[in-house]
Every structure is written in structure tokens, then in C-alpha cells.
């Protein structure tokens, strides 16, 4: 039997921005797909709700880090697609450095090999 560790609310909130920026760096996407991707990537340990995702996405858009556009999807349904702006790419780099700093600091204490990019 395996035990799943659900992320705490604070961790979900803090990791939302880097996760979204990283996901969108791989290409445009829409809300439903983003939630599915996060669930899959995290092995079901990060469960985002819509109520949480869209406000964050809209805030990133207001801050100019992502751009959005209504487009017709392949099955004919209109969806709002989000993609990374150039400011978003820069923000992603900063986020990466900050998260790796935290990770590597903890890693030293936990005796885990440091990660660099």
C-alpha cells in the first residue's frame, strides 16, 4: 500500500505560479487541460480546483506574464487559450532560480545532490 502526500494549501498557492509558467512554456494550453496536466505530472498529488486556477491565471495575465485568446478547438468548442509572453519567460527564469535555491539549501541539509540548470 502506498501513501499519497497531498500538498498543503500554502504550498499549492506558492507553487502555482512557477508550475503555470513552466507548463505554458511548453506551449499554449487552456484551463481544463492545465488541471489535467498538473494532476498527471504530480501523480495525483497536486489537485487544483478551478476556483483557484482561473484567478491565478487572470492575475498572471494582468501582470503581463501570460496572454490569452479565444480559439476554436479541434472538436469545435471555443476555448480560452493561454500562452507565455516574453515577460513571462523572464519571470520563469527567476522563478526557477528561486525554487532551485530553496531546493538546494534544503538538499544540503537533507544530503541530496544539488541541481543546476
Amino acid at each position: 500500500m502506498y501513501k499519497t502526500i497531498m500538498l498543503s494549501k500554502d504550498m499549492v498557492a506558492a507553487s502555482a505560479k512557477p508550475l503555470l509558467l513552466s507548463l505554458l512554456a511548453g506551449g499554449e494550453s487552456y484551463g481544463y487541460e492545465i488541471i489535467q496536466q498538473v494532476r498527471e505530472l504530480s501523480g495525483g498529488q497536486i489537485e487544483w480546483s478551478d476556483g483557484m486556477l482561473y484567478p491565478v491565471l487572470h492575475r498572471l495575465e494582468r501582470d503581463g506574464l501570460v496572454e490569452s485568446e479565444w480559439k476554436e478547438s479541434d472538436i469545435g468548442r471555443e476555448r480560452k487559450y493561454y500562452c507565455l509572453s516574453s515577460a513571462g519567460r523572464k519571470a520563469l527564469k527567476t522563478e526557477q532560480q528561486q525554487w532551485l535555491t530553496v531546493h538546494n539549501t534544503l538538499g544540503k541539509l537533507w544530503k541530496i545532490k544539488p541541481i543546476t540548470i
Binding site: Y32, D50, P55, E78
Partner: protein, 237 residues
């Protein structure tokens, strides 16, 4: 065993056909009743709900189950409205200005009231020593006001608001009514404190014209900024 499964099959057949589109329409109507969501937000949430329903249908669930699970995933319209409003930065300012306007109105009414009372006792007695008492009384009254605020906040009563306050702020109409009555009452007190007898009505109306635009516009501003909860929401089927 065979009997039972046959019986279950009959029940399934007898059930009225589940109208998925009607259910979605109902959900959308409830979403439309949320004051904080723009039409773009609603459209986005609708496509999300439809995607989620399609996802569950693909896994072999029926319409009703898919709709129910998708709703649970996406969230109830009132919760969504709350989450969205939290993320809107203009809302912070709305709230700040709302409290600021409340404080201004309160101080305005308070100072008029104290002015009226002190005038009443000073009438015909505005000699030098009384004037000093008059100003001391007014300044003391503001200290009392601030002290009341401190006591109110320190006793953490704000967390579970007092009943009177929540009663007044429950609806716009109620707040406007209470505000208007207060303005009228304070004005009347001031008029009757300044003059006596037949002149009171004249001074009262004069006071209304001179002093009330400020209070009335504050009442209007507060009523406009008031967070109104639970507007009419269509009944869920």
C-alpha cells in the same frame, strides 16, 4: 438474484430521462447571478464544465453522474464568485473606500450630534468660560469615540459582528433607510438646539439643504460599495 437485477433494470427504465442541457443551463443561470464574474469568466467556466463533463462521459459515466462530478470539480457558483473576487485588485480598494466612507459618515453624524447637544446647553450662555467648556466637551467626545473604536477592536468583536451592525448592512435599502433617518434626526436635533419654537422647522430645512448633501452623498457611496450577498439565485433543479 435474477429477479432483483430485472427489478433494478425496470427502475432504471422508469427513471425520467436526465436533461443534461437543462442542468447546464441551470448551472449557468446560477453563475450569472454572481455579481463578481464577468461574461468572459462565465464563458471560460462554462467551457471548463463542458470539458469536464465530456471527460467523465468518456470514462463511461452517464450524463447525470458526469454532470454531478464535473460540478463538484469545478465548484459551486457562489464559491467561484468568491474566489474570483478575491483575485480582483480593484476590490481591495472598494473595500477600503467603503470603510473610509463609513468612518467619515459616522464622524460626521457624531460631530453634528455632539455639536447639537453642546449648543443646547450653551444656549444664551456663550460667555467666555462656557466656550472653553464647549470646546473641551467636543474634543473629549472625539476621544471617547476613538476609545470606543479601540475597545471594539480589542475585544475582537469584529470577528463575529454585532447583530445590529449586520442587520443594518444586510441590504442596501435597509442601510439607506437607516442612514436617512439618522441624518434627519441629527438635523432636527441641531435645529432644535440652535433655535426654539416656531423657527425650528425653518432652521431644520435650512440645515438639511446646507449639511445633508455631504452626508447623503456618503450614504450613496456606501450603498453603492456595499458587498451584497445572496442576490436572487435561481432555484436548483
Amino acid at each position: 438474484m435474477a429477479d432483483r437485477s430485472q427489478h433494478a433494470g425496470q427502475i432504471m427504465e422508469n427513471q425520467t430521462h436526465y436533461d443534461l442541457n437543462a442542468a447546464i443551463e441551470n448551472w449557468l443561470a446560477e453563475l450569472a447571478a454572481q455579481p463578481n464574474l464577468t461574461s468572459d469568466d462565465r464563458r471560460e467556466l462554462e467551457t471548463h464544465l463542458r470539458d469536464a463533463i465530456a471527460g467523465f462521459q468518456q470514462r463511461g459515466l452517464n450524463d447525470e453522474e458526469s454532470f454531478w462530478l464535473a460540478c463538484k470539480r469545478v465548484g459551486q457558483p457562489p464559491e467561484l464568485g468568491e474566489e474570483f473576487v478575491k483575485s480582483d485588485p480593484t476590490n481591495d480598494w472598494r473595500e477600503r473606500v467603503f470603510w473610509m466612507a463609513n468612518a467619515l459618515l459616522f464622524v460626521n453624524l457624531w460631530s453634528s450630534l455632539i455639536g447639537a447637544f453642546s449648543l443646547k446647553y450653551a444656549r444664551g450662555n456663550l460667555s467666555h468660560p462656557w466656550q472653553l467648556k464647549y470646546y473641551l466637551f467636543i474634543s473629549m467626545s472625539y476621544c471617547v469615540l476613538i476609545l470606543c473604536c479601540v475597545v471594539f477592536l480589542a475585544s475582537s468583536r469584529l470577528r463575529h459582528r454585532t447583530k445590529v451592525l449586520s442587520f443594518i448592512f444586510q441590504s442596501r435599502a435597509r442601510f439607506i433607510l437607516v442612514g436617512l433617518l439618522l441624518v434627519l434626526a441629527v438635523n432636527f436635533l441641531r435645529a432644535s438646539a440652535t433655535v426654539g419654537g416656531a423657527l425650528v422647522t425653518q432652521v431644520f430645512f435650512l440645515g438639511l439643504i446646507i449639511y445633508s448633501p455631504w452626508s447623503l452623498s456618503l450614504i450613496g457611496l456606501i450603498a453603492w460599495l456595499m458587498p451584497v450577498q445572496n442576490r436572487k439565485t435561481p432555484r436548483r433543479s
